[in-house]
C-alpha cells in the first residue's frame, strides 16, 4: 500500500497553470490523470496553493462526474448507456459484466483493484452502438458475450505479464 503521498507532481501541475484558481478544473484533471484519482491530501494542498478554501475545491471535485475521490482499478471499463446504445441493448452487457466481476450498482471496483466498471451517458460513437471503452479504447458493436471475451483477453494478457 502506498502511504506516502508524492506532492512533487502536483506542484509541477500547479506551476504549469501559474497557480491560477480559474484553472482549478484543468489542474484537477491533470492531477487525476497523474494519480489516477484525487487523493484528499492533494486536494488540501491544491486549496492551500491556490489560496482558495478546501470546501471550494471539494465542492468542484464532487460536482463533476469525471472526478473520483476513490482509487480506481487497473483497468477501467465504461459502458455507454446513451440513447442509441440503450435502444440497442447496452444494459444486458452491463449486467453480464457486473455478474462476471462480482460488482453491482453500488460497487464499481473489484476487491483486487483489477477492474472498475462504470456507465457513461454518451461517447458520441452512436453509429457503432452499443459501445464500451476499455482503458479509453472504444470497442464497437458489443454483445454480452463479446464483452466477456474482451475481459478474459485482458486477464490473460495481465497474467502473461506477471
Amino acid at each position: 500500500m502506498e502511504n506516502k503521498i508524492d506532492y512533487e507532481k502536483a506542484d509541477e501541475i500547479l506551476s504549469s497553470y501559474g497557480k491560477n484558481s480559474c484553472y482549478l478544473i484543468a489542474i484537477m484533471q491533470d492531477i487525476q490523470s497523474e494519480y489516477k484519482y484525487l487523493p484528499v491530501e492533494i486536494l488540501e494542498h491544491v486549496a492551500h496553493e491556490l489560496d482558495v478554501s478546501v470546501a471550494k475545491v471539494y465542492s468542484v471535485a464532487t460536482f463533476y462526474e469525471n472526478f473520483s475521490l476513490e482509487p480506481k482499478g487497473k483497468h477501467v471499463i465504461r459502458i455507454c448507456d446513451g440513447t442509441a446504445c440503450h435502444v440497442r441493448k447496452s444494459i444486458p452487457i452491463l449486467e453480464k459484466l457486473r455478474s462476471e466481476l462480482g460488482l453491482s450498482d453500488k460497487k464499481h471496483t473489484t476487491d483486487n483493484m483489477e477492474f472498475t466498471l462504470e456507465t457513461v451517458s454518451c461517447l458520441g460513437a452512436c453509429g457503432l452502438a452499443p459501445v464500451l471503452t476499455l482503458d479509453e479504447v472504444v470497442h464497437p458493436a458489443m454483445t454480452p458475450e463479446k464483452a466477456v471475451t474482451l475481459l478474459n483477453d485482458v486477464r490473460k494478457e495481465d497474467a502473461a505479464h506477471e
Binding site: C22, I25, Q29, F63, T83, C122, A125, G127, V138
Partner: protein
C-alpha cells in the same frame, strides 16, 4: 511553416497548397473519426503508409513539402458519417468509397486502386445487389446537402494547408480587411442563421447585442459540450474540420470586438480535444491566431477548456461558471450572457455547428444562404441518425427536409424490416415524433408546434419492440442524474417523476400516477431555473400525448405491449421441451420453480422475481418469456 505577415503571404501560401493538392495523382483518405478509429482505421493508415514506402511510392502525408507531380496524398480524414460501414477509405479522383476495410485488404488496395485505376468490387457498398462505385451515388449520401460537413471525410483534418487550399480562412481575411463589425453582425442576421445548439436564437442578433455593450472586454465562447445522448454532430465537426469552426469563432471575435475565445469540449471527446489543439497550434504558428493578425491590427487567440462530465454545463451560465473553475450551476437571468457572461463580461456563446456555418455565409453571401432551407430556418442542419435504423450515421440536410426522407431515403428504413414506432428528437429535452409526423418538415418552428424540438440534432429511431414508457423512464433517469440540484422543481420534481415512472415499468403504477406525472411535468416546466429543468419533462409529456395506450397497458393491464419491461414479463417453462433436469430449480434464487426429476417443471409466477437466471441457464431452451 513560415509565419504569414500580410495578405499577400496568405494568398501565396494558399496558391502553393492548391497547386500541391492538384498535383497529387491520387488522394487516399482514411476516415479517422471516433467510429472508424474504433474499427482500426489508424492501423490501416499505418499499414498503407508503410507498404507504400516499401514499394518506393512517393507518399505525401501533408502539404508542407514542395508541390510535385505524381505523388500520392495519404490523409487522415474526419468523419464521413457512415459510421456503421467503417472503417471507410476513399480514393480521389476515382471517387470510390471502400467500406469495412480490413488490414488484409491494404495490399490489394495499393496495387489495384492506388497504383492502378481498378475498383475492388468486394469493398464497395452494396444495396439490393447493386454496387455503388461513387460515394455520392450511395442512397445514404444522395439526398444529403453536405456544406458544413463538406470537408469532413474529404480533407486532412489536421492539415491547415489543406483547409487553406479549399478557401479556408478566406472568409476571415475578407472580414477583417473589408468589413466592419456592424456589417458582419448585419450579414449574419440577414442570413437568418439560428443557433444550432437547440434554442434556435438568431446568432446575428446575439452578436449585435454583445457588440453594442459599453464594456470593452468581450469574449467568444464555443459550446462543444454536446451532452445529449445520441448526438455527435459537433464531435464530428471538431474532429473532422476543426479549422472551419475556429474560423467562425475568429469572425465572431472580430465582429463583436473580442480578443479571446474559449472552446468548452466534453471530456468524453478526447479525439476532438487533440484535433482542436493541433488546429489551434497550427493557426498560431502560421499567424492566423495571435497579435496583429496579418498586419490588420486585430488580435485574437483561442483556448480549450475540457469539461469534466456534467450535462448541465451545456447551459450557458453553467458553462461559463465551469470555465471560471467553479461548479457548473446555472444562475438566474437576467443579466443575460450577452451582458454578463464569462468572467462577468459580455459574451457571445454559440455552439460548434453555428460557428461552422459562419464562414459559409461570409464566403457565399446572404442570398445564397437564404436559398437553402426554409424561410424561417435557412441553411442546413446536421443530424445524428441512430437507433434501430439501417444506416446509422451523421447526416446533413437542408432545414425543412421531412422526417420520411431522413429515415427512409437516407436512413434506409427501420432495421430488420420492423415497424417504425417513434423517433426521439432533441435528446432528453426533446420529444417523440410518430408515424403521423413523417411528412413534417424538420425545422425549428414546425417541430415546436408538435411539442418536440430540434435540440442539438439527435434523431433516435425506435422500432415496435421499444417500450415508450421505458424510454421516458430512461430519459428521466438521465435528467435526474444530471440535475445540478440548485433549484427545487428540478432537483425534487425530476426525482418524483422518476419514482412514478419506475413504479409504472415495474407494474405497480396506478391511474392516479398518470395524472401525477402530468401535473409534475407542467409544474417543473413552468418553474425550473434553467433550460435543463424546463425541458426535463418533455420526453414524458410527449410520450403521454402520443402513447397514452401504452401507459394504460402498464398501469391497468400490467402488461408491456412491446415486451421490453422485464418486470411485466411472465417466464414459463415449455413442457414439451423440458427434460426435467432440475438445473433451473437449483439456480432460482426465489424458490419459484418446482417439479419432479425427468418430468416437466413449473414456475410459480407469484414467487418469480423475473430475474431471468433460469432463462440463460436452461440447457434445452425450454424456458421462455411472454
Amino acid at each position: 511553416m513560415n509565419k504569414l505577415l500580410t495578405t499577400q503571404d496568405y494568398e501565396k501560401t494558399c496558391a502553393i497548397a492548391k497547386d500541391h493538392l492538384e498535383k497529387q495523382q491520387k488522394r487516399v483518405l482514411i476516415c479517422c473519426g471516433t467510429g472508424c478509429v474504433a474499427g482500426g482505421s489508424l492501423q490501416i493508415y499505418d499499414r498503407i503508409k508503410e507498404k507504400c514506402k516499401e514499394q518506393g511510392i512517393d507518399v505525401c502525408v501533408s502539404l508542407e513539402h514542395e508541390p510535385h507531380d505524381h505523388n500520392i496524398g495519404l490523409k487522415k480524414s474526419g468523419c464521413h458519417g457512415f459510421c456503421e460501414m467503417g472503417p471507410l477509405l476513399k480514393i480521389e479522383p476515382l471517387g470510390v468509397l471502400y467500406i469495412k476495410v480490413k488490414l488484409e485488404d491494404c495490399d490489394e488496395i495499393i496495387e489495384k486502386s492506388i497504383l492502378g485505376d481498378e475498383i475492388i468490387d468486394r469493398l464497395l457498398y452494396k444495396l439490393e445487389d447493386k454496387a455503388y462505385h461513387r460515394q455520392e451515388e450511395i442512397p445514404f449520401y444522395k439526398k444529403q446537402t453536405r456544406l458544413v460537413l463538406a470537408n469532413c471525410g474529404n480533407s486532412d483534418a489536421e492539415d491547415v494547408l489543406e483547409y487553406m487550399a479549399k478557401d479556408g480562412y478566406e472568409a476571415f481575411i475578407k472580414s477583417i480587411f473589408t468589413k466592419t463589425g456592424e456589417e458582419l453582425c448585419k450579414e449574419v442576421t440577414d442570413a437568418g442563421l439560428r443557433g444550432r445548439g437547440g434554442g434556435g436564437y438568431p446568432a446575428g442578433k446575439k452578436w449585435e447585442q454583445v457588440r453594442k455593450q459599453k464594456e470593452t472586454v468581450r469574449y467568444i465562447v464555443c459550446n462543444g459540450d454536446e451532452g445529449d445522448p445520441g448526438a455527435f454532430m459537433d464531435r464530428s465537426i471538431m474532429e473532422g474540420d476543426p479549422h472551419k469552426m475556429l474560423e467562425g469563432m475568429m469572425i465572431a471575435g472580430y465582429a463583436v470586438g473580442a480578443q479571446k475565445g474559449y472552446i468548452y469540449v466534453r471530456a468524453e471527446y478526447p479525439l476532438a480535444v487533440s484535433r482542436l489543439q493541433t488546429a489551434i497550434n497550427k493557426a498560431r504558428e502560421i499567424g492566423l491566431l495571435g497579435e496583429n493578425i496579418l498586419g490588420s491590427g486585430f488580435s485574437f487567440d483561442i483556448h480549450i477548456n475540457r469539461g469534466a462530465g456534467a450535462f448541465v454545463c451545456g447551459e450557458g451560465s453553467a458553462l461559463t461558471a465551469s470555465i471560471e473553475g467553479n461548479r457548473g450551476m446555472p444562475r438566474v437571468k437576467p443579466p443575460r450572457t450577452v451582458e454578463k457572461g464569462l468572467f462577468g463580461k459580455p459574451t457571445v456563446l454559440n455552439n460548434v455547428e453555428t460557428f461552422a456555418n459562419v464562414p459559409l455565409i461570409i464566403l457565399n453571401g446572404v442570398d445564397w444562404y437564404r436559398s437553402l432551407g426554409v424561410e424561417t430556418s435557412p441553411g442546413t442542419k446536421a443530424f445524428a441518425l441512430t437507433g434501430n435504423v439501417n444506416n446509422t450515421g451523421l447526416i446533413e440536410v437542408p432545414m425543412g427536409t421531412t422526417l420520411r426522407e431522413v429515415i427512409f431515403d437516407i436512413g434506409g428504413g427501420v432495421k430488420g424490416g420492423k415497424k417504425l414506432k417513434a423517433v426521439q428528437i432533441g435528446g432528453p429535452s426533446g420529444g417523440c415524433l410518430t408515424e403521423e409526423h413523417l411528412d413534417l418538415p424538420l425545422d425549428f418552428d414546425s417541430l415546436k408546434k408538435v411539442g418536440a424540438m430540434i435540440g442539438s440534432g439527435g434523431l433516435v429511431v425506435m422500432d415496435e419492440n421499444t417500450c415508450m414508457v421505458e424510454v421516458s423512464r430512461f430519459f428521466m433517469n438521465f435528467t435526474q442524474n444530471e440535475s445540478c440540484g440548485k433549484c427545487v422543481p428540478c432537483r425534487e420534481g425530476t426525482k418524483r417523476m422518476l419514482e412514478v415512472l419506475e413504479r409504472i415499468v415495474k407494474g405497480n403504477g396506478t391511474l392516479d400516477d398518470l395524472e401525477l406525472l402530468q401535473e409534475l411535468a407542467e409544474t417543473i416546466s413552468k418553474t425550473a431555473l434553467c433550460g435543463l429543468g424546463k425541458t426535463a419533462a418533455n420526453p414524458v409529456s410527449s410520450t403521454l400525448k402520443y402513447f397514452k395506450d401504452e401507459y394504460l397497458a402498464h398501469v391497468v393491464d400490467k402488461k408491456c405491449p412491446a415486451g421490453d419491461c422485464q418486470a411485466l414479463k411472465t417466464i414459463y417453462i415449455d413442457a414439451a421441451l423440458c427434460k426435467g433436469c432440475s438445473k433451473c430449480q437449483r439456480l432460482c434464487p426465489a424458490g419459484a420453480i418446482s417439479g419432479e426429476i425427468k418430468k416437466p417443471f413449473t414456475i410459480h409466477s407469484e414467487k418469480c422475481l423475473k430475474c431471468g437466471a433460469c432463462l440463460s441457464a436452461c440447457p434445452f431452451k425450454a424456458i421462455k418469456e411472454a
